[in-house]
């Protein structure tokens, strides 16, 4: 190092120092900016993600609650239906039992000969009026053959005296009704038949008599609107 160069060395040195300081300064400022922005970005990103996540969770659970409420409703209505059906089934069973008991007593009807004959005659008469046709056949159980023939004759007579019209009612001996009809008659005109057996008449009541039975057992139905 020569003496003549000392001053310019100092100058150079200072310039260098200045440049180095400048480089460092620039870097520090840039770094500071990057860090500041980084904090801001990170905070924003965190909020954004949390909000997104929360919204997704909310939507998810809203669906879950809704579906839960639906399945609860379905369950409630199923229980209600099941209950109603069970009660109806019980009612039906009780009514069936009642009719079965009644049926057992049908056998006793034909024992009172006098009343039975009157009944048979009435059944024939009713059928004559319903058919409106002058020729009819009457079917009966084996043991009722005689009573049936008699009823047919009596009915024809009464019909004539009431309406003046002739009618021919004969006992069809070729067909015998089974014992499970408990009595009564089947009246036919050609292919059409009116089933007036005791069993059939009771059967008709199985549906027809229900409102009446209900009333007798549990009293009037306050909700009923039609009484025709």
């Amino acid at each position: 190092m020569s003496q003549s160069r000392e001053l310019s060395d100092e100058q150079v040195g200072r310039e260098l120092e200045k440049m180095m300081a400048f480089i460092k300064q620039e870097a520090s400022e840039k770094a500071k900016e990057i860090r500041l922005k980084a904090d801001e970005e990170a905070s924003k990103e965190k909020s954004r993600l949390v909000q997104e996540g929360s919204d997704a969770i909310e939507a998810d659970y809203e669906k879950k609650y809704k579906s839960l409420s639906q399945s609860q409703q379905i369950q409630r209505s199923q229980v209600a239906n099941k209950t109603r059906l069970r009660i109806l089934a019980s009612q039906q069973q009780l009514i069936d039992d009642l009719f079965d008991e009644t049926e057992k007593q049908l056998a006793g009807v034909s024992k009172d000969k006098g009343k039975y004959k009157t009944l048979l005659k009435g059944l024939v008469l009713e059928s004559v009026e319903r058919f409106g046709v002058p020729t009819l056949m009457v079917q009966a159980r084996k043991e009722d053959a005689a009573a049936a023939a008699e009823a047919a004759a009596e009915a024809a007579k009464e019909y004539k005296s009431k309406t003046g019209k002739e009618c021919k009612i004969t006992h069809d001996e070729s067909t015998c009704l089974g014992p499970d009809v408990y009595g009564g008659l089947v009246i036919t005109s050609g292919k059409i038949a009116i089933d007036n057996t005791l069993a059939a008449r009771l059967d008709e009541l199985r549906t027809e008599a229900l409102p009446d039975i209900r009333e007798k057992l549990v009293g009037k139905n306050i909700n009923r609107k039609f009484y025709d």
Binding site: S28, A38, E41, A42, E45, I57, V79, Q105, I213, L217
Partner: protein, 107 residues
């Protein structure tokens, strides 16, 4: 070493250090973002657990409520069937009489 080259070396060294400073700031950014995502994830997990907990306790309450409703319905059915059976047993005789009368009566 000549002064020129020494100076240049010093400047290069300053540049190198400056680059380090900036890089360190960039690394900081990366770390912060990652931390933000991890934090967010954890917070969301916590919220989810909370929501799940609430939902489960609600569902349990309701299922026990509906069970007791079902039991009540069961009891109601039994009571009604008992009542019907009793009413029938009590009142059937006149009803049977009336039915038989209807069978044997022709208008």
């Amino acid at each position: 070493m000549s002064q020129k080259t020494q100076g240049i070396q010093q400047l290069l060294e300053a540049e190198r250090k400056a680059a380090e400073i900036v890089q360190s700031a960039r690394d900081y950014r990366t770390t912060q973002l990652r931390a933000a995502r991890d934090d967010a994830k954890k917070l969301i997990e916590d919220k989810k657990k909370e929501a799940e907990g609430k939902y489960n306790s609600y569902a349990n309450q309701n299922s026990s409520g509906s069970k007791s409703a079902e039991q009540q319905a069961e009891k109601d059915v039994e009571d009604r069937v008992k009542a019907m059976t009793a009413a029938l047993a009590k009142g059937k005789d006149p009803v049977i009489k009336d039915l038989l009368a209807a069978v044997v009566t022709v208008e």
